[in-house]
């Protein structure tokens, strides 16, 4: 997709979301450009995962807009947003448990088959017109023909299958999972399941990768490996990455920009050093009394 230079890949513009009387997210702003590595932190129930769900189309924002590469995506389905280049992992691992590792990745590769109308043409149409029914019809036509290709086992279909398998194997190798190729996802150790989820997300050819607590449940060693890996992925796939994380060391270690949420409101945003010393953040995380003590200590120190 041809991108206007300087236009963010993912842009949340004063997004708010309300469930009944509960304001889960208030005036949330975020921009992710190519090569960004941003963090989203906050205490439990602060609205981090809600923010993710708004960005990926699970929830529709009550007010405000979300843009992906300049396309307004309010009200679009998660699979459509995924096709625009936003992939995610889940806080509580959501692998396809009874499928093998490679099949998990191959499921996400499905967007490759465009038998009648080419993908570029569809993308252009989707950007150009507001007639979604027309592009949806073309998608359906593509899919219909593709079913017949699968049923008749055409040479083109076989070639595509081989390409998909190769691509999936490549991704497994990147994530160091190739030796687990034919093992069922549920039999993988916890850390590998987390990595498989990232491999699966990468298979959708994302421009932005959203990681929801990728280090949850990992030991120190695994966390260190993960930090290296996330940085590598950003380079290798030229991604913008947004990480939700509880582990402060990890977030402070890799993120160049951190947004802090509390009760759905953005209480701080900036570089790691800036956020760490922000009194509001300290208060949110450690409580009011600690914040007061911290401030007093800082005052006496000065």
């Amino acid at each position: 997709m041809n991108l206007v230079p300087g236009e963010p890949l993912l842009h949340a513009k004063s997004v708010s979301i309300q469930f009944g009387g509960l304001r889960a997210l208030t005036d949330f702003n975020l921009e992710i450009h190519k090569g960004d590595l941003k963090g989203l932190i906050g205490p439990n129930g602060a609205g981090k995962t809600t923010a993710f769900n708004v960005l990926t189309g699970v929830y529709r924002p009550t007010s405000g807009d979300v843009f992906v590469s300049g396309n307004r995506i309010n009200g679009r389905k998660p699979h459509q947003i995924n096709r625009l280049g936003v992939a995610r992992t889940f806080q509580n691992i959501r692998l396809f448990k009874e499928l093998t590792a490679i099949d998990n990745v191959k499921v996400a590769c499905l967007s490759e088959s465009y038998s009648v109308v080419r993908r570029e043409t569809l993308d252009r149409l989707e950007r150009g017109t507001s007639a979604l029914w027309f592009t949806n019809a073309l998608h359906a036509l593509n899919n219909y023909v593709d079913w017949w290709r699968a049923l008749l086992l055409t040479p083109g279909f076989l070639r595509e299958e081989a390409e998909v398998t190769k691509k999936a194997e490549g991704l497994l190798e990147t994530m160091g999972l190739l030796h687990r190729r034919d093992e069922e996802a549920r039999n993988l150790p916890y850390g590998e399941q987390r990595r498989l989820e990232i491999a699966r997300a990468l298979a959708t050819n994302p421009k932005v990768l959203l990681l929801d607590e990728p280090a949850a449940g990992m030991n120190t060693r695994e966390k260190a490996d993960l930090m290296v890996l996330i940085r590598e992925l950003r380079e290798k796939f030229s991604l913008g990455i947004l990480v939700i994380e509880h582990d402060m060391k990890l977030v402070m270690g890799i993120c160049e920009h951190i947004t802090v949420l509390d009760h759905g409101e953005t209480i701080a945003a900036g570089g790691p050093a800036e956020v760490r010393t922000n009194p509001k953040v300290i208060e949110a995380y450690l409580g009011e009394s600690f914040a007061a003590a911290h401030a007093a200590a800082a005052g006496s120190g000065a």
Binding site: K77, K97, L99, V107
Partner: protein, 353 residues
């Protein structure tokens, strides 16, 4: 499981891999047709088995692969049976001159009737698939159950379809060749879907709908597609059924028939195509086998045979209970027979040492 388009026929050039199984099947089916020409009862039993296999394998696409629980499959079968049967009744005397012989013309009309029945059933599949966008689990099951009953009641009260008496005098154009050919096509389609990107999407929906949606699978569309394909083959099965029994009435397509098919796929293992086949064959033949065993035991004494015949169904039921206790995931679980068989063998080999 369904990982790679297996390199089993790797020596075959790409363009031939699609049609090859069909080309191979034709002479075998012709041979079967020739061999069973003198055995009408065998043909009848084989046809019943064939129809049940088609029903089980097609229902497995919705219940097993996609994980949607449909219990109205007899409804689709009824649509196919009535549409195809009515079509054949109306066009009984039509002769297509370009087909050279009356028999050949009849067979072509038969194929057309089957396709028509399947297509109309597929339309109904689309209509039933729509609620599956919003409903899950038990709620969807109730909708499909309701659909099956609605079809039966509508047919029962429609003059055109003979009300409760049903349709009779449908030309018996079915043959073992035609039934087994459709059995083969259904299985082939199910297997090829399972090993394609579309099948993987269906499996992904079964495993985790939210994750599938987030990975770019249009879950709503795929659920409806699964219903459409499943209904098409159920309709064809109904058409075949109508053309070998010759008489159909609403009583053939009750809730009991739907449950029979559900029992088959659950016993075979939800999601396993080969499991559905094995279970469908076994559970269709079992009552017949028990009947002939008891007749043997009775030593030709008809009254004893009849008396023992009454405990046939309890035995059938007990076997199912035993299966569910011993293997709650069904015969093969979600796997296929070739995934499971080597494991059994290797385990036994280890045990021997």
């Amino acid at each position: 499981m369904e990982s790679v388009a297996a390199p089993r026929f790797s020596g075959v050039p790409g363009w031939l891999r699609g049609p090859l199984p069909i080309l191979l099947s034709l002479p075998i089916l012709a041979l079967a047709q020739w061999a069973t020409a003198q055995a009408p009862f065998l043909v009848y039993i084989a046809s019943i088995v064939g129809v049940n296999v088609i029903l089980a394998v097609s229902l497995n696409i919705v219940n097993g692969m996609t994980g949607q629980f449909s219990i109205g499959h007899a409804g689709f079968m009824a649509v196919g049976a009535y549409i195809a049967g009515k079509f054949s009744l109306e066009t009984k005397d039509v002769y297509l001159p370009f087909m050279q012989s009356v028999a050949a013309s009849d067979q072509l009309m038969f194929v057309f009737a089957l396709l028509l029945g399947g297509a109309v059933a597929a339309v109904f599949g689309f209509l039933v698939g729509l609620p599956s966008l919003r409903l899950k689990g038990d709620y969807l099951a109730i909708v499909t159950l309701g659909f099956g009953e609605i079809i039966r009641v509508i047919v029962q009260n429609t003059e055109m379809f003979g009300r409760a008496l049903g349709l009779s005098g449908i030309p018996q154009r079915s043959s073992i060749f035609m039934v087994m050919f459709w059995v083969f096509l259904t299985i082939l389609a199910a297997r090829r879907i399972a090993s394609s990107a579309h099948g993987r999407s269906l499996l992904a929906i079964r495993e985790d709908e939210i994750a599938a949606e987030a990975m770019g699978v249009n879950t709503t569309a795929y659920k409806v597609r699964a219903f459409v394909i499943s209904a098409f083959f159920a309709g064809v099965a109904g058409g075949l059924f109508a053309h070998f029994v010759g008489i159909i009435n609403p009583g053939s397509f009750t809730f009991v028939k739907s449950m029979e098919i559900v029992v088959m796929i659950v016993a075979g293992g939800l999601g396993s195509t080969t499991g559905s086949i094995v279970a469908a064959v076994f559970l269709t033949l079992l009552p017949e086998a028990l009947r002939s065993i008891f007749t043997q035991l009775g030593g030709g004494d008809q009254t004893l045979a009849q008396r023992v015949d009454q405990i046939r169904m309890p035995i059938y039921g007990m076997l199912l209970v035993a299966l569910m206790l011993l293997r709650p995931q069904g015969l093969f679980g979600t796997k296929e027979i070739w995934d499971v068989a080597p494991k059994w063998l290797s385990r036994r080999r280890k045990g021997m040492r």
